[in-house]
Protein backbone atom coordinates (compact mmCIF):
# COMPACT_ATOMS: atom_id res chain seq x y z
CA UNK A 1 0.00 0.00 0.00
CA UNK A 2 1.29 3.51 -0.74
CA UNK A 3 2.23 5.42 2.38
CA UNK A 4 -0.41 7.37 4.25
CA UNK A 5 -0.93 8.64 7.75
CA UNK A 6 -3.91 7.28 9.68
CA UNK A 7 -5.56 9.78 11.97
CA UNK A 8 -8.44 8.92 14.32
CA UNK A 9 -9.77 12.14 15.88
CA UNK A 10 -11.91 11.77 18.98
CA UNK A 11 -14.20 14.73 18.36
CA UNK A 12 -16.23 15.98 15.42
CA UNK A 13 -14.48 19.36 15.58
CA UNK A 14 -11.07 17.70 15.45
CA UNK A 15 -12.15 15.51 12.52
CA UNK A 16 -13.40 18.50 10.55
CA UNK A 17 -10.14 20.33 11.29
CA UNK A 18 -8.07 17.35 10.11
CA UNK A 19 -9.96 17.28 6.82
CA UNK A 20 -8.91 20.86 6.14
CA UNK A 21 -5.19 20.11 6.38
CA UNK A 22 -3.39 19.83 3.04
CA UNK A 23 -4.87 19.64 -0.45
CA UNK A 24 -8.40 18.19 -0.75
CA UNK A 25 -7.23 15.28 -2.95
CA UNK A 26 -4.70 14.20 -0.33
CA UNK A 27 -7.21 13.38 2.38
CA UNK A 28 -9.60 10.42 2.48
CA UNK A 29 -12.34 9.70 5.01
CA UNK A 30 -12.42 6.18 6.46
CA UNK A 31 -15.69 4.80 7.86
CA UNK A 32 -15.95 1.01 7.49
CA UNK A 33 -13.25 0.96 4.83
CA UNK A 34 -14.74 -1.88 2.80
CA UNK A 35 -14.73 0.24 -0.36
CA UNK A 36 -11.95 2.71 0.44
CA UNK A 37 -9.30 0.03 0.93
CA UNK A 38 -9.45 -0.93 -2.76
CA UNK A 39 -8.57 2.62 -3.71
CA UNK A 40 -5.88 3.02 -1.09
CA UNK A 41 -4.19 -0.10 -2.39
CA UNK A 42 -4.34 0.97 -6.02
CA UNK A 43 -2.40 3.54 -7.93
CA UNK A 44 -5.52 5.69 -8.40
CA UNK A 45 -5.52 6.89 -4.81
CA UNK A 46 -3.78 10.17 -4.11
CA UNK A 47 -4.64 10.01 -0.39
CA UNK A 48 -1.72 10.72 1.90
CA UNK A 49 -3.78 11.30 5.03
CA UNK A 50 -6.65 9.03 6.03
CA UNK A 51 -9.05 10.36 8.65
CA UNK A 52 -10.80 7.53 10.47
CA UNK A 53 -14.22 8.20 11.99
CA UNK A 54 -14.00 5.24 14.39
CA UNK A 55 -13.86 7.37 17.53
CA UNK A 56 -16.82 9.59 16.64
CA UNK A 57 -20.13 8.95 18.48
CA UNK A 58 -22.06 8.20 15.32
CA UNK A 59 -22.74 4.46 15.64
CA UNK A 60 -26.36 5.11 16.46
CA UNK A 61 -29.87 4.38 15.25
CA UNK A 62 -32.61 6.46 16.88
CA UNK A 63 -36.34 6.25 16.36
CA UNK A 64 -38.28 9.41 17.12
CA UNK A 65 -41.86 8.42 16.39
CA UNK A 66 -41.81 7.41 12.71
CA UNK A 67 -38.51 9.18 12.00
CA UNK A 68 -35.40 7.02 11.93
CA UNK A 69 -32.02 8.73 12.22
CA UNK A 70 -29.04 6.53 11.38
CA UNK A 71 -25.59 7.65 12.47
CA UNK A 72 -23.19 7.58 9.55
CA UNK A 73 -20.73 5.08 11.07
CA UNK A 74 -23.26 2.53 12.29
CA UNK A 75 -22.39 -0.84 10.73
CA UNK A 76 -25.07 -1.90 8.24
CA UNK A 77 -25.49 -5.18 10.11
CA UNK A 78 -27.11 -3.27 12.99
CA UNK A 79 -29.83 -1.94 10.67
CA UNK A 80 -30.47 -5.42 9.38
CA UNK A 81 -30.91 -6.73 12.92
CA UNK A 82 -33.32 -3.98 14.03
CA UNK A 83 -36.81 -5.51 13.63
CA UNK A 84 -38.31 -2.02 13.36
CA UNK A 85 -36.29 -1.36 10.20
CA UNK A 86 -37.67 -4.52 8.58
CA UNK A 87 -41.20 -3.61 9.66
CA UNK A 88 -41.30 0.14 8.94
CA UNK A 89 -38.81 0.41 6.06
CA UNK A 90 -38.76 -3.03 4.41
CA UNK A 91 -37.06 -1.66 1.28
CA UNK A 92 -34.15 -0.41 3.40
CA UNK A 93 -33.89 -3.79 5.12
CA UNK A 94 -33.79 -5.59 1.76
CA UNK A 95 -31.22 -3.18 0.33
CA UNK A 96 -28.95 -3.53 3.37
CA UNK A 97 -29.12 -7.32 3.01
CA UNK A 98 -28.07 -6.91 -0.62
CA UNK A 99 -24.78 -5.25 0.34
CA UNK A 100 -21.84 -7.67 0.31
CA UNK A 101 -21.78 -10.42 2.92
CA UNK A 102 -22.46 -10.59 6.66
CA UNK A 103 -18.74 -10.10 7.32
CA UNK A 104 -18.65 -7.04 5.09
CA UNK A 105 -21.80 -5.58 6.64
CA UNK A 106 -20.25 -5.85 10.09
CA UNK A 107 -17.99 -2.99 9.01
CA UNK A 108 -19.62 -1.25 6.03
CA UNK A 109 -21.69 1.82 6.91
CA UNK A 110 -24.53 3.87 5.46
CA UNK A 111 -22.41 7.02 5.59
CA UNK A 112 -19.57 5.30 3.79
CA UNK A 113 -21.87 3.98 1.08
CA UNK A 114 -23.29 7.47 0.48
CA UNK A 115 -19.97 9.28 0.71
CA UNK A 116 -18.29 6.88 -1.72
CA UNK A 117 -21.29 7.20 -4.10
CA UNK A 118 -20.55 4.10 -6.17
CA UNK A 119 -22.78 3.85 -9.25
CA UNK A 120 -23.66 0.30 -8.16
CA UNK A 121 -24.64 1.30 -4.61
CA UNK A 122 -27.44 -0.92 -3.31
CA UNK A 123 -28.53 1.70 -0.81
CA UNK A 124 -28.87 4.88 -2.86
CA UNK A 125 -31.92 3.75 -4.93
CA UNK A 126 -33.83 2.93 -1.74
CA UNK A 127 -32.76 6.17 -0.06
CA UNK A 128 -34.22 8.01 -3.07
CA UNK A 129 -37.59 6.29 -2.66
CA UNK A 130 -37.67 6.91 1.09
CA UNK A 131 -36.85 10.64 0.71
CA UNK A 132 -33.82 10.24 2.96
CA UNK A 133 -32.14 13.43 4.19
CA UNK A 134 -28.38 13.56 4.59
CA UNK A 135 -27.15 15.53 7.60
CA UNK A 136 -23.73 17.10 7.11
CA UNK A 137 -21.34 18.80 9.49
CA UNK A 138 -18.42 20.92 8.39
CA UNK A 139 -16.31 24.01 9.01
CA UNK A 140 -19.31 26.24 8.25
CA UNK A 141 -21.69 24.38 10.58
CA UNK A 142 -24.42 21.88 9.80
CA UNK A 143 -26.75 21.48 6.84
CA UNK A 144 -29.02 18.84 5.37
CA UNK A 145 -29.62 17.78 1.79
CA UNK A 146 -32.13 15.40 0.25
CA UNK A 147 -30.28 12.39 -1.07
CA UNK A 148 -31.00 13.27 -4.73
CA UNK A 149 -29.15 16.55 -4.24
CA UNK A 150 -26.35 14.86 -2.31
CA UNK A 151 -25.33 12.18 -4.80
CA UNK A 152 -24.39 14.09 -7.94
CA UNK A 153 -22.73 11.43 -10.10
CA UNK A 154 -20.41 8.46 -10.13
CA UNK A 155 -18.18 8.88 -7.05
CA UNK A 156 -19.31 12.52 -6.85
CA UNK A 157 -21.22 14.09 -3.97
CA UNK A 158 -22.18 17.54 -2.72
CA UNK A 159 -19.69 17.26 0.16
CA UNK A 160 -17.48 20.36 0.31
CA UNK A 161 -13.89 20.21 1.64
CA UNK A 162 -13.95 19.56 5.38
CA UNK A 163 -17.52 18.26 5.42
CA UNK A 164 -18.59 14.91 6.88
CA UNK A 165 -21.82 12.93 6.77
CA UNK A 166 -23.11 12.84 10.34
CA UNK A 167 -26.38 10.97 9.85
CA UNK A 168 -29.14 9.98 7.46
CA UNK A 169 -32.79 10.61 8.33
CA UNK A 170 -35.80 8.67 7.10
CA UNK A 171 -38.88 10.87 7.55
CA UNK A 172 -41.64 8.26 7.66
CA UNK A 173 -42.41 4.55 7.61
CA UNK A 174 -43.13 3.46 4.04
CA UNK A 175 -44.22 0.21 2.46
CA UNK A 176 -41.22 -0.36 0.21
CA UNK A 177 -39.29 -2.95 -1.72
CA UNK A 178 -35.83 -3.44 -3.23
CA UNK A 179 -35.18 -6.06 -5.92
CA UNK A 180 -32.05 -6.83 -7.92
CA UNK A 181 -30.68 -9.20 -10.52
CA UNK A 182 -27.07 -10.41 -10.54
CA UNK A 183 -24.90 -12.87 -12.41
CA UNK A 184 -23.85 -14.30 -9.05
CA UNK A 185 -26.24 -13.47 -6.24
CA UNK A 186 -23.81 -13.77 -3.33
CA UNK A 187 -20.92 -11.61 -4.42
CA UNK A 188 -21.45 -9.40 -7.41
CA UNK A 189 -22.91 -5.99 -8.11
CA UNK A 190 -26.34 -5.81 -9.67
CA UNK A 191 -27.06 -5.80 -13.40
CA UNK A 192 -30.14 -3.79 -12.47
CA UNK A 193 -31.71 -2.97 -9.14
CA UNK A 194 -35.03 -1.24 -8.50
CA UNK A 195 -36.61 0.36 -5.48
CA UNK A 196 -40.29 1.17 -4.97
CA UNK A 197 -42.04 2.87 -2.06
CA UNK A 198 -45.42 4.38 -1.32
CA UNK A 199 -45.65 7.53 0.77
CA UNK A 200 -48.78 7.34 2.94
CA UNK A 201 -48.52 11.04 3.92
CA UNK A 202 -48.31 12.28 0.34
CA UNK A 203 -50.29 9.45 -1.29
CA UNK A 204 -47.66 9.18 -4.02
CA UNK A 205 -45.23 6.57 -5.26
CA UNK A 206 -41.45 6.74 -5.49
CA UNK A 207 -39.63 4.54 -7.97
CA UNK A 208 -35.89 4.41 -8.56
CA UNK A 209 -33.42 2.36 -10.54
CA UNK A 210 -29.81 1.50 -9.73
CA UNK A 211 -27.02 -0.33 -11.49
CA UNK A 212 -26.86 2.13 -14.38
CA UNK A 213 -23.90 4.50 -14.25
CA UNK A 214 -23.36 7.26 -13.37
CA UNK A 215 -25.92 7.16 -10.56
CA UNK A 216 -29.26 5.88 -9.30
CA UNK A 217 -32.25 7.78 -10.65
CA UNK A 218 -35.88 8.43 -9.74
CA UNK A 219 -38.44 7.54 -12.41
CA UNK A 220 -41.00 10.38 -12.20
CA UNK A 221 -42.96 9.48 -15.33
CA UNK A 222 -43.59 5.93 -14.16
CA UNK A 223 -44.36 7.18 -10.65
CA UNK A 224 -47.12 9.44 -11.97
CA UNK A 225 -48.85 6.47 -13.61
CA UNK A 226 -49.51 4.86 -10.23
CA UNK A 227 -52.53 6.57 -8.71
CA UNK A 228 -53.25 4.83 -5.44
CA UNK A 229 -51.60 2.66 -2.82
CA UNK A 230 -53.08 -0.30 -4.68
CA UNK A 231 -52.79 0.50 -8.38
CA UNK A 232 -54.66 -1.55 -10.97
CA UNK A 233 -52.92 -4.30 -12.94
CA UNK A 234 -53.11 -2.04 -15.97
CA UNK A 235 -51.47 0.91 -14.19
CA UNK A 236 -48.65 -1.29 -12.91
CA UNK A 237 -48.04 -2.73 -16.37
CA UNK A 238 -48.02 0.69 -18.03
CA UNK A 239 -45.66 2.14 -15.41
CA UNK A 240 -43.30 -0.82 -15.82
CA UNK A 241 -43.32 -0.40 -19.60
CA UNK A 242 -42.67 3.33 -19.35
CA UNK A 243 -39.90 3.06 -16.75
CA UNK A 244 -36.92 2.07 -18.95
CA UNK A 245 -37.76 4.48 -21.81
CA UNK A 246 -36.05 7.65 -20.51
CA UNK A 247 -32.96 5.77 -19.31
CA UNK A 248 -29.61 5.88 -21.09
CA UNK A 249 -28.41 2.31 -20.67
CA UNK A 250 -25.19 0.76 -21.99
CA UNK A 251 -24.11 -2.84 -22.50
CA UNK A 252 -21.14 -4.14 -20.53
CA UNK A 253 -19.71 -7.48 -19.43
CA UNK A 254 -22.47 -7.94 -16.84
CA UNK A 255 -25.48 -7.47 -19.15
CA UNK A 256 -26.60 -6.16 -22.52
CA UNK A 257 -28.59 -2.98 -22.87
CA UNK A 258 -31.59 -5.01 -24.05
CA UNK A 259 -31.53 -7.29 -21.02
CA UNK A 260 -31.13 -4.35 -18.68
CA UNK A 261 -34.20 -2.61 -20.18
CA UNK A 262 -36.16 -5.82 -19.76
CA UNK A 263 -35.00 -6.10 -16.13
CA UNK A 264 -36.04 -2.53 -15.26
CA UNK A 265 -39.62 -3.26 -16.31
CA UNK A 266 -39.86 -6.75 -14.86
CA UNK A 267 -38.30 -5.94 -11.51
CA UNK A 268 -40.32 -2.72 -11.16
CA UNK A 269 -43.56 -4.55 -11.79
CA UNK A 270 -42.69 -7.07 -9.06
CA UNK A 271 -41.51 -4.37 -6.65
CA UNK A 272 -44.68 -2.28 -7.08
CA UNK A 273 -46.86 -5.35 -6.51
CA UNK A 274 -44.87 -6.21 -3.39
CA UNK A 275 -45.35 -2.68 -2.02
CA UNK A 276 -49.07 -2.69 -2.89
CA UNK A 277 -49.57 -5.95 -1.01
CA UNK A 278 -47.85 -4.44 2.04
CA UNK A 279 -50.22 -1.46 1.86
CA UNK A 280 -53.14 -3.86 1.73
CA UNK A 281 -51.99 -5.69 4.83
CA UNK A 282 -51.91 -2.48 6.79
CA UNK A 283 -55.60 -1.81 6.26
Amino acid sequence: MPPFTLIAPSSVEAAVAELKVGAPGEVAVLAGGTDLLFDLDGAKSTARRVVSLRRLPWRTADWNGPVLTVGSTLPLRALEKDPEVARCLPGLFQAVRAVGSVQLRHRATLGGNLGRAAPASDLIPVLLTLDAEVDLVGPGGSRSLPVDRFVLGSRTTALTPGELIRSVRFPEARPSSYLWQRVRPANDISQIAVAAAYSPSEATWRLAVGGIPPRALRLPEAEAMLRSSRPSEEEVRRAAEAAPRPLAIASDRRASEEYRRHLVGTLLERAVRAVASLSKEER
Binding site: S101, Q103, A186
Partner: protein, 158 residues
Protein backbone atom coordinates in the same frame (compact mmCIF):
# COMPACT_ATOMS: atom_id res chain seq x y z
CA UNK B 1 -4.09 8.41 22.17
CA UNK B 2 -2.66 6.47 25.09
CA UNK B 3 0.08 3.98 24.23
CA UNK B 4 -1.88 1.28 26.07
CA UNK B 5 -4.69 1.50 23.52
CA UNK B 6 -2.34 0.55 20.68
CA UNK B 7 -2.89 -3.13 21.34
CA UNK B 8 -5.33 -5.92 20.72
CA UNK B 9 -6.12 -9.19 22.43
CA UNK B 10 -5.25 -11.91 19.94
CA UNK B 11 -6.68 -15.31 20.79
CA UNK B 12 -6.65 -14.28 24.44
CA UNK B 13 -3.11 -12.86 24.46
CA UNK B 14 -2.42 -9.11 24.77
CA UNK B 15 -0.60 -8.10 21.60
CA UNK B 16 1.03 -4.76 20.93
CA UNK B 17 0.40 -2.90 17.69
CA UNK B 18 3.26 -0.45 18.26
CA UNK B 19 5.33 -1.93 15.44
CA UNK B 20 2.40 -2.15 13.01
CA UNK B 21 2.49 0.44 10.20
CA UNK B 22 -0.65 2.52 9.80
CA UNK B 23 -1.10 1.21 6.26
CA UNK B 24 -1.08 -2.47 7.24
CA UNK B 25 -4.13 -4.66 6.76
CA UNK B 26 -5.29 -6.89 9.60
CA UNK B 27 -4.87 -9.93 7.31
CA UNK B 28 -1.18 -9.14 6.80
CA UNK B 29 -0.59 -8.40 10.48
CA UNK B 30 -2.14 -11.73 11.48
CA UNK B 31 -0.31 -13.82 8.89
CA UNK B 32 3.08 -12.18 8.59
CA UNK B 33 3.60 -10.16 11.76
CA UNK B 34 1.92 -12.45 14.29
CA UNK B 35 2.67 -15.62 12.33
CA UNK B 36 -0.79 -17.13 12.41
CA UNK B 37 -1.07 -18.67 8.96
CA UNK B 38 -4.49 -20.31 9.48
CA UNK B 39 -6.21 -17.14 8.28
CA UNK B 40 -6.03 -17.32 4.49
CA UNK B 41 -5.68 -14.72 1.80
CA UNK B 42 -8.02 -15.46 -1.09
CA UNK B 43 -9.19 -12.54 -3.19
CA UNK B 44 -7.94 -9.69 -0.98
CA UNK B 45 -11.01 -7.72 -2.04
CA UNK B 46 -13.83 -8.88 0.24
CA UNK B 47 -15.45 -11.40 -2.08
CA UNK B 48 -14.30 -14.79 -0.82
CA UNK B 49 -14.39 -14.78 2.99
CA UNK B 50 -11.19 -16.83 3.38
CA UNK B 51 -9.68 -14.11 5.61
CA UNK B 52 -12.62 -13.99 8.06
CA UNK B 53 -11.70 -13.43 11.71
CA UNK B 54 -13.81 -12.46 14.73
CA UNK B 55 -13.41 -8.91 16.02
CA UNK B 56 -15.12 -8.69 19.42
CA UNK B 57 -16.99 -11.83 18.47
CA UNK B 58 -18.22 -10.48 15.14
CA UNK B 59 -17.11 -11.90 11.79
CA UNK B 60 -14.94 -9.45 9.87
CA UNK B 61 -12.99 -9.46 6.60
CA UNK B 62 -9.40 -8.98 7.72
CA UNK B 63 -8.36 -8.08 4.16
CA UNK B 64 -10.56 -4.97 4.16
CA UNK B 65 -9.65 -3.82 7.66
CA UNK B 66 -6.68 -1.70 8.67
CA UNK B 67 -5.09 -3.21 11.78
CA UNK B 68 -5.12 0.04 13.72
CA UNK B 69 -8.88 0.35 13.13
CA UNK B 70 -9.43 -2.52 15.58
CA UNK B 71 -7.18 -1.21 18.37
CA UNK B 72 -8.49 -2.27 21.75
CA UNK B 73 -10.52 -5.16 20.29
CA UNK B 74 -10.47 -8.83 21.05
CA UNK B 75 -9.56 -10.89 17.96
CA UNK B 76 -10.19 -14.57 17.39
CA UNK B 77 -8.59 -16.39 14.46
CA UNK B 78 -9.01 -20.01 13.47
CA UNK B 79 -6.11 -20.85 15.82
CA UNK B 80 -8.18 -19.63 18.79
CA UNK B 81 -11.61 -20.76 17.64
CA UNK B 82 -11.64 -24.06 19.55
CA UNK B 83 -11.34 -22.17 22.85
CA UNK B 84 -14.92 -21.12 22.19
CA UNK B 85 -17.43 -23.97 22.75
CA UNK B 86 -19.41 -22.87 19.68
CA UNK B 87 -16.23 -22.75 17.60
CA UNK B 88 -15.27 -26.21 18.83
CA UNK B 89 -18.72 -27.55 17.88
CA UNK B 90 -18.36 -26.05 14.39
CA UNK B 91 -14.95 -27.69 13.94
CA UNK B 92 -16.32 -31.06 15.02
CA UNK B 93 -19.31 -30.72 12.69
CA UNK B 94 -17.02 -29.90 9.74
CA UNK B 95 -14.92 -32.92 10.54
CA UNK B 96 -17.91 -35.26 10.90
CA UNK B 97 -19.52 -33.98 7.69
CA UNK B 98 -16.22 -34.08 5.79
CA UNK B 99 -16.95 -30.46 4.91
CA UNK B 100 -13.65 -29.76 3.19
CA UNK B 101 -11.40 -30.86 0.41
CA UNK B 102 -8.34 -28.69 -0.15
CA UNK B 103 -9.03 -26.84 3.10
CA UNK B 104 -8.12 -23.36 1.92
CA UNK B 105 -11.57 -21.86 2.56
CA UNK B 106 -12.20 -23.91 5.71
CA UNK B 107 -10.81 -21.50 8.34
CA UNK B 108 -12.96 -18.72 6.89
CA UNK B 109 -16.06 -20.91 6.92
CA UNK B 110 -15.46 -22.15 10.46
CA UNK B 111 -14.85 -18.65 11.82
CA UNK B 112 -17.78 -17.12 9.89
CA UNK B 113 -20.18 -19.85 11.01
CA UNK B 114 -19.00 -19.55 14.61
CA UNK B 115 -19.70 -15.82 14.46
CA UNK B 116 -23.15 -16.42 12.96
CA UNK B 117 -24.11 -19.02 15.56
CA UNK B 118 -22.97 -16.71 18.32
CA UNK B 119 -25.12 -13.95 16.87
CA UNK B 120 -28.15 -16.05 15.99
CA UNK B 121 -28.07 -18.95 18.41
CA UNK B 122 -27.59 -22.57 17.43
CA UNK B 123 -31.28 -23.09 16.73
CA UNK B 124 -31.27 -20.57 13.84
CA UNK B 125 -32.89 -22.01 10.67
CA UNK B 126 -30.40 -23.84 8.44
CA UNK B 127 -31.65 -21.99 5.34
CA UNK B 128 -30.88 -18.63 6.92
CA UNK B 129 -27.47 -19.74 8.14
CA UNK B 130 -26.56 -21.00 4.68
CA UNK B 131 -27.74 -17.75 3.13
CA UNK B 132 -25.64 -15.80 5.60
CA UNK B 133 -22.61 -17.90 4.66
CA UNK B 134 -22.92 -16.48 1.12
CA UNK B 135 -19.80 -14.41 1.72
CA UNK B 136 -17.62 -17.53 1.88
CA UNK B 137 -16.62 -19.22 -1.35
CA UNK B 138 -15.52 -22.83 -1.73
CA UNK B 139 -14.26 -24.12 -5.04
CA UNK B 140 -14.02 -27.85 -4.29
CA UNK B 141 -16.82 -29.19 -2.14
CA UNK B 142 -19.79 -27.96 -4.13
CA UNK B 143 -21.06 -26.80 -0.71
CA UNK B 144 -23.16 -29.93 -0.08
CA UNK B 145 -20.90 -31.21 2.70
CA UNK B 146 -20.66 -27.74 4.23
CA UNK B 147 -24.47 -27.55 4.27
CA UNK B 148 -24.44 -30.97 5.96
CA UNK B 149 -22.14 -29.64 8.68
CA UNK B 150 -24.55 -26.76 9.31
CA UNK B 151 -27.45 -29.23 9.55
CA UNK B 152 -25.52 -31.42 11.99
CA UNK B 153 -24.96 -28.41 14.25
CA UNK B 154 -28.63 -27.62 14.29
CA UNK B 155 -29.61 -31.20 15.06
CA UNK B 156 -27.27 -31.13 18.04
CA UNK B 157 -28.48 -27.74 19.21
CA UNK B 158 -29.68 -27.81 22.79
Amino acid sequence: MTPASRAVTLNGRPTSLDEVPETERLLDSIRWRFGLKGTKEGCRSGDCGACTVLVDGVSTLSCLTLTHEVEGSSLTTIEGISDDPVGKAVQVAFERAGALQCGYCTPGFVVALTGLLRERGRAAPVEELLNDLGGNLCRCTGYASIARAVSLLQKEAP
